[in-house]
Amino acid sequence: MKFKRILATVAALGASAVVLSGCALPYQSQVIKDTAITVAWNDIASEFNSASASGNNVSNSIVTYIANSGFNYYDETPALQKSEDFGTYEKVSDEPLTVKYTVNDNVKWSDGVDVDSADLLLSWVVGYGYFKNDDGTYLFQHAAPRDDLASKLPTLNGGTIQYEYDKAFVDWELNYGLGVSAHGTVMMAYPEITDPAEAKKKFIDAVTAGDTKWLQKVADVWNTGYQVTDATAADTDPAEGSKKYVFLSNGPYRVEEVVADDHVTLVANPLYAWGPSPKYERITIREIGDPTAAVQAVDNGDVQAASGQPTADLLALVKGLKNGSYAGGDEAAFEHVDLTFDNGGPFDPATYGGDEAKALAVRQAFLLSIPRDQILDNIIKPLNPDAQLRNALTVVPGSPNYDTVVAGNGSDFFGGTDAERVAKAKDLLASAGVKTPVTVKFWYPEGNVRRGQEFELIQANALQSGFNVVDTSEPDWLFTDPSVFPINPHDAVIFAWSSTSLAISGNDQMYGMDKDGNAKPSNFQHYKNQDVVDNLAALETETDPAKQAELQTTIEKSLFDDAASLPIFQFPGLTWWDNGVEGITPAPLSPNYFWNFWEWSPAAAAQ
């Protein structure tokens, strides 16, 4: 134990010396021998290709995140950070949008083979849906192939890939990353190929020649060959394991053992030298679905860290941990109220004989009557004392453009205190000449305790300004299914939009309409504003960050001016850990608290 502490001190000293001297010493591993940490997640990885349609879920992504390096990752802000020790990327030109990704020379897969352009090409082919079957389906079943974005084969050179977009694309930085190995995938498909270099060459040749017949087997492996629910340490051995190609990794750890629905163990990758060194020799992720069980597991020492959606009960339990700490923070989902525009209700201009101004006044008055402060103070702050009101619909708080957008999006119309807002709402209703009380059919998911409480607060507060809010809750979210309700029968609904990235595009699904003027699939409120549609389309192809912020502000201004929707708060999160561990920091975006796993280390006190 004492020896470990000395080791850790030496390692820390070494690291700080490197930082102080400012020059790049050769990489020094800080992995402390025989240290292990067990952490909990609500599901266990079962596929080690997290880009495929079947493997694209958070639990798989966590494992591939820990086992691999990437060009970039989200930190706890959340902001996108680049990993330049692994590789670099840049925009080569704007017209047409051309980008270049380079993997550094020293980067290797865990079997010692270089990470190079063949691997980058495989990721490109799958992500842009380059190959299709005769029936129009994708050869490589990627979770979200974007063949609308790029269709010209990239140019390769050593560890570099350069390719052109067919149109400018705002989220180009988030749209490409390195996935599974090319040589491993090819050699699983064609076991007779034993030389990795040959595998890479054959793959590149097949892609260049468009040889889909040869690629079919490779695609089969890529689609389903990475689904493994059980593997022993012997199976995953990078030199001679029977499943070694499935578990090839290019990051700080490699998968050592998988037991279905129970745990995944990762062990430090001895070859890794292209990024911050992890401290633990082993990380084990266990499956615990029940948050209460996860608190007790940390209390007992079964696991050292876990996270979950907080409730008052859960928070009380976590606070009671004798040897544990916890942190709140935001999650990526945000609560908001949407108003329906075309159901013949109080917010539909048709109700007032097409009088847009009158309908607008009623919408504004209703959104003003939502007691945002009360909801935040009574329901959210007890769970997350630092919680703040969210004032933007399309931009995540903490992300680079948030402050700019909030300053100009007109959300200050809904500012002030709850009382001030009620007064303003009354005036609006009176000057519009609407007969009160106005009946509003309000939906929240029945059985959801938190939203039930929010409804009660809203109902009581809106009564003061002249709204009779009627409970039309049901548990099945039927209004989200257009086959059941082509038009949302509720006048107002409260729910949350979730997101897993900082993507700027995609908001057209919520607020846009298609060419025929029909609302897009997630535009349940049937909000239709041609300016918003045009600006969203313009934003999609805008690659200049300053202009992006401008467009986002304009779009949000329209949304707030039309009183379409009102954001309330960011979902609170809760992460708790054993005091024997240092460095655990919650983060709102996937992979959540795993984002800085390399900083996790045994606490000095626990050694």
Binding site: A53, A144, T224, T229, R286, G289, D302, T500
Partner: protein, 516 residues
């Protein structure tokens, strides 16, 4: 017999068909599998929704999808099961997921069921025999409390006190004198109530128990036994002797000298074999060793019974063989506890050994030492089993008590007593067997209930079995997965019902399952 079973199987298939239809419809209509994606702002979600719709065939009405599923499931009969894929589990074939889950659930449920039958019936019997005593009232009171407890709450409490607090105690095992005395007094009350008799003899029993238990606890405290628990040859000897006595009591042969003698010789042989067996356990480090030793010890018992049984040879062979076989248990426990110190070093717990989640410690899943793995399994299975048992036992206790009391009031029991049979023989041979008939039915019902209870228990203890799969499937509206779980648990419950019917006919000569 054959026609009875085939008729039952046909009825079973019909029941399963109708039930599966309802379950399928209910699950398919229980929610929208695309809901998470509909509420996601990510640009990718549109493409994902399209993929999922196609995979789940959502554009086909559920009623047609059911028959497609049925077609796949029905091919199980010809050995080509197609239960579909589970979309929420990354397209894993359902059959695959079930195979993994079945094992862990069955080990949990079967263990809990067997133990609760044994304990519940034993407690029920003793309460019936001591009807209207303080003990009877105490057990009745406790049974009603446990029977009405919600299992999720029991499970959470068990973890708090059975694992977290108990582990803290194991880390620093100090037993205050008043705890030792209190436990002694409680056990003294229970033992003296069960043993019964006149006041003087009850007081004597209570006194002996009190002194004995308190002394053991004080001794354990002084020797720090809980910090490094072990059984050793003394523990094995005591436990084996206890098993022998219990066997004699159950078979009501306490007063038959030849049988007592053969059991005593068998137990003596077990104790004598403790040392040589150490080598066997060490060099033949596999689970099969347990079977080998059990068979060998049973053979020793049978031999002793054969040689010493005299007039009661048949009974002596049976009783001694049984005592020998069951004595394997303390020997195995001894092996497990020998590895306690090593085990504590290997697990991540802060102190102690009882785990609150899962079926094994991840790092020990593939450990080469069988006995260490068994110790690991034991520390994991003990709490979920206890949670399932507490509630089942309460039921069994009540049913056994009622059933035995009814039988004891029958005329033939009075006749048996009148002809001068010892009370133990009357109860064990004449009354008990008949009292078991209604219990057999309850067991079958209870098995279904325990599987149901396992859904919650598995979630609370992060035990990855059928219950966890069912909950997961229902939450994600993954119809194929739910149907897979339904099929397995449904078939298991139905099979247990058939088994109960067969047990019925074996226990009750009035019931025939033949056609004539």
């Amino acid at each position: 017999m054959l026609s009875f079973i085939s008729r039952r199987l046909a009825a079973t298939l019909a029941v399963l068909f109708v039930a599966s239809f309802f379950v399928y419809m209910l699950t398919a209509n229980s929610g929208d599998p695309l809901q998470d994606l509909r509420l996601n702002k990510d640009p990718q979600s549109v493409a994902k929704m399209a993929t999922l719709t196609e995979k789940l065939d959502l554009n086909t009405p559920p009623i047609f999808r059911y028959f497609k599923w049925l077609g796949g499931a029905a091919s199980c009969v010809i050995g080509r099961c197609d239960l579909g894929i589970s979309v929420s589990r990354g397209d894993e074939p359902v059959a695959n997921a079930l195979a993994n889950a079945m094992e862990s659930t069955l080990s949990l449920v079967v263990l809990a069921t067997i133990l609760s039958i044994l304990l519940g019936v034993a407690i029920g019997m003793t309460t019936a025999l001591r009807q209207y005593s303080g003990y009877d009232y105490t057990v009745t009171f406790a049974a009603f409390i446990f029977y009405s407890l919600p299992i999720f709450w029991v499970a959470v409490l068990l973890k708090e006190f059975g694992a977290i607090r108990f582990n803290e105690f194991l880390g620093n095992p100090v037993i205050p004198w008043w705890v030792a005395l209190g436990v002694g007094a409680l056990l003294a009350f229970l033992v003296s109530s069960v043993v019964g008799g006149r006041l003087v003899s009850r007081l004597r029993t209570a006194g002996i128990t009190l002194v004995l238990v308190t002394a053991i606890l004080v001794l354990a405290d002084i020797t720090q036994w809980f910090a490094k628990p072990s059984i050793g040859i003394i523990g094995v000897a005591l436990l084996a002797a206890g098993i022998g006595a219990l066997m004699l009591f159950i078979t009501s042969s306490v007063k038959r000298r030849p049988i007592v003698l053969s059991v005593a010789v068998t137990i003596g042989a077990v104790i004598a074999l403790w040392f040589p067996l150490q080598f066997l356990w060490f060099y033949l480090n596999t689970p099969i060793t347990i079977l080998i030793v059990a068979v060998a010890l049973a053979a020793v018992g049978a031999l002793a019974g054969f040689l010493l049984g005299g007039d009661d040879r048949r009974d002596a062979i049976r009783t001694a063989a049984l005592a020998g076989a069951i004595s394997t248990l303390p020997l195995v426990l001894d092996q497990m506890f020998m590895r306690w110190g090593e085990y504590i070093q290997l697990i991540p717990l802060r102190s102690g050994a009882i785990s609150t989640i899962g079926a094994t410690t991840p790092t020990l899943t593939n450990h080469p030492d069988t006995w260490l793995r068994m110790l690991d399994s034991a520390t994991h299975i003990i709490l979920p089993t206890a949670a399932l048992m507490i509630i089942s036992i309460a039921g069994y206790t009540r049913y056994t008590r009622a059933s035995l009391l009814e039988v004891l009031n029958q005329d033939y029991v009075r006749t048996a007593r009148a002809k001068g049979l010892p009370e133990a023989t009357v109860i064990m041979r004449h009354a008990f067997r008949n009292a078991l008939i209604p219990i057999a039915t309850i067991v079958a019902f209870d098995f279904g209930a325990v599987i149901g209870g396992a859904i919650i228990t598995e979630r609370v203890f992060a035990w990855q079995g059928m219950g966890a799969l069912f909950g997961w499937g229902l939450y994600h509206v993954d119809v194929n997965l739910v149907m897979g779980v339904f099929l397995v648990t449904g078939i298991a419950a139905v099979i247990f019902n058939i088994l109960a019917d067969l047990a019925y006919s074996a226990l009750d000569p009035r019931i025939r399952v033949t056609d004539s």
